[in-house]
Symmetry: C2
Subunit: 195 residues, 2 copies
DNA sequence: GTCTATAGAGCGATAGAC
DNA sequence: GTCTATCGCTCTATAGAC
């Protein structure tokens, strides 16, 4: 009685997320979202005030998802370095890019404070929490104590975001993996890689 | 006799470069380019076959410019580490993002092999040359010899590209500077920063 | 070489029937 | 809640005068 099983509103948000990821805000039309969702014009404008309103719901969900996943890894088991390594080394769809970082290149998203807020907050928090882990690793002797935790964490998050860029430029996910390897090599040169 | 002083074709390319940088390919219309260039519809379609053709000229120029600048810095004076540091630390318009890396997020650019080629080649060559500098620094004792040159160079280029992303997300160029600082700290922990 | 006029398609949104 | 019809606008491109 609550919802029809397959909720139309839900389908619209998920379709918007996919298209925002693939084509960005400017490249995504309401019509394209409706078609992917299997919904009509009327449905979309019943559930949402317009394109920005639907995009906001989609962006918030993607941002929340990204943050939650990072936080789970940061709070996992193992030493600080273990958890940093797990976060950096997690498998990602390199050629698709980051669904949140991508929005940073969308002029209309950045121009709208409401659309932009989830993006800003996500990266701020992930960086902060990673910095705390770097500080922990420095304190317990796993990492070089001369490292600045915040600057180091910022660089590490940047490697991931830049890794997506380079992978897409090269048309190869290998480049993303190489960037991560390079970052891990810089962070923990004393840890030998297998192979 | 060759050209009218202010060349219309030239104005169109430069206007396209600016708009591609600010709004991307999908977000840039031929009309907008014409208006910024102070040229009419007819002029643009006289000098170029259409939007993709003009974009190709603009993308090639931006890519060449980026490569030339990096190569000049790589070939500069000082030790390998000096030149790496100069390249990483060069002042960049962090909030504007990278005019070449940006194109990586444009589905229509990535889908067209001709438009995409200059982007791919630029990052490939910059990374290769930076890797050679890392190898040189490892060999002469400036850098940890355990570093993998290619992976390290990839990570460093990724820090720059990701730094743009994080700076735009935060709305602050400081974040870009922080990412670069973090990368330099990882690369050369023995070098103390002033401050 | 540049202009204006025009075209067909898609954009984002609204109206009103059901 | 969802549908179809319609709106005014912009998109990218072509035609043809000057």
């Amino acid at each position: 009685m609550y919802g029809d099983g397959v909720d139309t509103r839900e389908q619209l948000i998920e379709s918007a997320r996919e298209l925002l990821w693939e084509r960005g805000y400017v490249g995504t039309s309401p019509k394209a979202i409706q078609q992917r969702a299997g919904a009509g014009q009327g449905s979309m404008y019943h559930h949402f005030r317009g394109k920005p309103d639907l995009a906001l719901a989609a962006i918030r969900r993607s941002a929340d998802e990204m943050r939650a996943r990072a936080e789970a890894e940061f709070a996992g088991t193992g030493t600080a370095l273990d958890r940093i390594t797990a976060y950096l080394g997690r498998e990602r769809a390199a050629l698709r890019g980051c669904p949140v970082g991508r929005l940073t290149q969308d002029p209309d998203v950045m121009a709208d404070p409401e659309l932009r807020a989830p993006v800003e907050e996500t990266f701020t928090r992930v960086t902060e929490q990673l910095a705390a882990l770097v500080a922990e690793g420095s304190a317990n002797g796993e990492l070089d104590p001369r490292l600045d935790p915040v600057a180091t964490a910022t660089a590490l998050v940047a490697v991931l975001q830049g890794g997506y860029v380079l992978a897409r430029a090269a048309g190869s996910a290998d480049v993303y993996a190489r960037a991560v390897d390079g970052a891990l090599g810089l962070l923990a040169p004393h840890v030998r890689k297998e192979g």
